[in-house]
Structures are given as structure tokens and as C-alpha cells.
Amino acid sequence: MIQKLEGEFEDIPKGALTPSTKITDIQGWGSMHALIVIALMDAEYGITVKGDELRSVQSIQDLFDLAKKKQAAL
């Protein structure tokens, strides 16, 4: 998922993200990144992440856990 995120966020260097990276600390994080993450979650995991769920997520690991939890509930 980290590779996918780095691929989608064109303005950050490879290797800049780790599971513990806080998503709001990602360089240039803003509304567009939220849309990119939502689209990625839909494409990769077939799940819907709502805006307020994304706001409650701290790290990339949390995001991954949320995706797995939602996927298991499908």
C-alpha cells in the first residue's frame, strides 16, 4: 500500500513513507490527497472510506488496518 500511495502522490520521493508516517504529515497533505486515498481504497480493496473516517486515522498503518477491517466485513 505504501508503494501505491507513493505512486499516487506524485510530489513525494520514494521511500518517504513508512507505516508509522502520520498521514497529515505527508508533504503537501490536503483535500486532494484525501480524495486520492479514497479512490485508492476503492480500487485496491473495494471498500468505501468516508471523509470523517479518514480524518480519524492517524498513521498509514491505521489506514491499512481500517482497510483490512472493512474488507473483512464485506
Binding site: E10, S31, M32, A34, L35, I36, I38, A39, D42, A43, T48, V49, K50, G51, L54
Partner: protein, 334 residues
């Protein structure tokens, strides 16, 4: 004999908002970044004293000039689709009948719909023609979203522009408008909404004072929850396309061109990838136009026709989706 789209014209206001100007107003975004986010380089906006009915008159005049075989005296029904009508009464379509100079024997109605408006209006026009109630329906579609966007709202200013399209739906044996699929979910109304106007939220002195530095926002103020709109689109559009293909007994490969509501470059690309539609069959024309609400589909149809991408016999799927939530789609055969 069946209803078909005979001709289209459109009007864009002369005023242009470029990415360079947006970048000057919002220095945290470079022009390149704005283009990457939206797929848009320029949007047109109407002058303060020009409202959609004025644009509709210009679009209609342009239409009859561009298509001299289509005559005003042959129009027997007028549909005006916009979310910014002139007043509570009479219907703006009635005022337009007189301003454009259409026969007094013509019927005239408003359809106050947004992003899905072209598809819904086309459904009404098709029903009028196929039932024999009308032979030539002039369908004017467009909006002036820039008038309900707060000047400091950079996200909305990057996306929306103003435009008006004129489409003639006639009865003929060449070409057709196919079956429709549609849906509505008003539980999402709050996620894309014009606040502070009309019956539910009457304009107040407090409102006008609050937005005094933005001219009072007397037409209302558009607000959008981008993440929820994206989720709505991902949830509703792909099943709608599938449902329409099943209804029309077509495969994805049978469609020659897909023309979706030009919401934003990002959203269209996400949808295209999700539905695995080949790039060359997925038409976009928002680069120098932006998202013009109910006008995006006829503008794109016009540009695709002009570019020679639609030929005789071509099957074109059009899909509108957004504010409401409201969505609808059909297949046009040319």
C-alpha cells in the same frame, strides 16, 4: 420514427479565469498543480449582470445561426434546464419563449436540475417526441455556478465554469435516443448544495452582511463535501453503466464513445479506471471549459462531433451524476 439529437450549439462567456490567475490569488498552488488536480486550465465566467436566461438567449441565437436548416417557427416545445431560474414565477422557459421569438403554440417548461440535468431533460424531450406530443424540442441547458461560489473558495473556483448549450431533439428515422436508467438519493443533498437562498433558507440581512465582502452572495453559496461526492460517484456510476448496458443489451465494447458529466479530471480518471474503459473511448473536453454543471454533456457532444469522433451509426453513452444526489444515463445512436 424515434427521437434523436439533430443539432447542438453552445455559448461560453468571454471572461476567462486561468490557472495563472488562480495561482496569483492562492499562492499555495502553482498553475501546474491546479491542472494536475483538476484537468482544467481555464474556465469561463459570466459577467455580473448576465444570468443563465441571458446566456440561453445567446445560445439559442447562436444555434439558429449555426444550423440554418433548423427554424424557430418549427419549435413546438422549449425545455430550459438550469438551477438558476429568473424568479419564482413565471417559469423562465415562458420568458425565454418570448425573448427567443418561438411560436406561441410551443409548450415551455423549466427543469431545475444540475449535473444530471441534461440526461433528465433528454428523457423528457424523448418522451414528448416519441409520444407524438412534439416534433421539435429546443432544449437549453446550462448554469452559472460561478455566481454561487465564494471568491475565497479555491477548490470550487478551480473546478466550475459557466456555459449554456442549445440542443434540438427532433423526430426522424436516422439516429435515436435509447432507453434510460436513473436514480435519486436525496439523503446526500447536504454534500453538494446551494445554501442561503430560496424557500428553505430565505436570504436574511445577517447573511448579506456576513458575505458583504463577497458581494453578499445573494444568489446563495455553493458548498461541496468532496470526499462524499467522490464516494457517491464511485458507488453509483459504475452500477448505472452496467445496468444501462444490460437494459440496452450491449457490451462495454459496443460503445464507441463514453461522454460522462465533466465533473473533474481526477474524478473522471478514477471512474474510467474503475470501469476499465479504454482511454481512447473516454472523451473529455474540460481543459479549457471546466465543470459547467448541466451543460458539460452537450458541450462534450458538440466538441466530439466536431472532432470527428462521432460518426453516423456511432453509439455514445452519456451519463450525468451529482447534485441531488441525482444520476441518469442513456445511449445515443447517431
Amino acid at each position: 420514427m424515434s427521437a434523436y439529437i439533430k443539432a447542438i450549439s453552445y455559448y461560453l462567456p468571454d471572461n476567462v479565469l486561468t490557472n495563472e490567475e488562480l495561482s496569483r490569488l492562492f499562492p499555495e498552488y502553482t498553475p501546474e498543480e491546479i491542472f494536475r488536480r483538476t484537468g482544467i486550465k481555464e474556465r469561463h465566467f459570466s459577467s455580473p449582470d448576465e444570468i443563465p436566461s441571458d446566456a440561453a438567449v445567446i445560445a439559442a441565437e447562436k444555434f439558429f445561426k449555426e444550423h440554418p436548416a433548423c427554424k424557430k417557427e418549427d419549435i413546438d416545445f422549449l425545455i430550459f434546464c438550469t438551477e438558476m431560474v429568473d424568479r419564482r414565477g413565471p417559469a423562465t422557459a415562458c420568458i425565454l419563449q418570448n425573448r427567443i421569438g418561438l411560436p406561441v403554440t410551443a409548450g415551455a417548461i423549466d427543469i431545475p436540475m444540475g449535473c444530471s440535468g441534461f440526461v433528465y431533460g433528454l428523457l423528457v424531450a424523448q418522451s414528448l417526441v416519441n409520444s407524438g406530443a412534439a416534433k421539435n424540442v429546443l432544449f437549453l441547458t446550462g448554469d452559472a455556478a460561478t455566481k454561487v461560489i465564494h471568491p475565497a473558495d479555491h477548490e470550487l473556483r478551480m473546478i466550475f465554469g459557466d456555459a449554456m448549450a442549445a440542443t434540438l431533439i427532433s423526430n426522424n428515422d436516422s439516429g435515436s435516443i435509447g432507453g434510460f436508467v436513473f436514480g435519486t438519493d436525496g439523503s446526500g443533498a447536504q454534500n453538494l448544495i446551494v445554501e442561503g437562498c430560496c424557500g428553505a433558507e430565505k436570504p436574511t440581512r445577517e447573511w448579506l452582511d456576513k458575505y458583504a465582502d463577497a458581494g453578499g452572495m445573494a444568489y446563495g453559496k455553493l458548498s461541496m463535501n468532496g470526499t462524499e461526492i467522490l464516494n457517491f460517484t464511485l458507488k453509483r456510476v459504475p452500477p448505472m453503466v452496467k445496468q444501462l448496458l444490460e437494459k440496452e443489451k450491449l457490451a462495454l465494447e459496443d460503445i464507441d464513445l463514453f461522454i460522462f458529466h465533466q465533473a473533474s479530471g481526477f474524478m473522471l480518471e478514477v471512474l474510467r479506471r474503475k470501469m476499465k474503459i479504454p482511454k481512447e473511448k473516454f472523451f473529455t473536453n474540460m481543459e479549457y471549459i471546466g465543470n459547467t454543471v448541466a451543460a458539460t454533456i452537450p458541450l462534450a457532444l458538440y466538441d466530439a462531433l466536431k472532432a470527428g469522433l462521432i460518426k453516423k451509426g456511432s453509439k455514445v453513452m452519456i451519463a450525468g451524476f451529482g447534485i441531488g444526489y441525482s444520476w441518469g444515463a442513456t445511449v445515443l445512436t447517431f
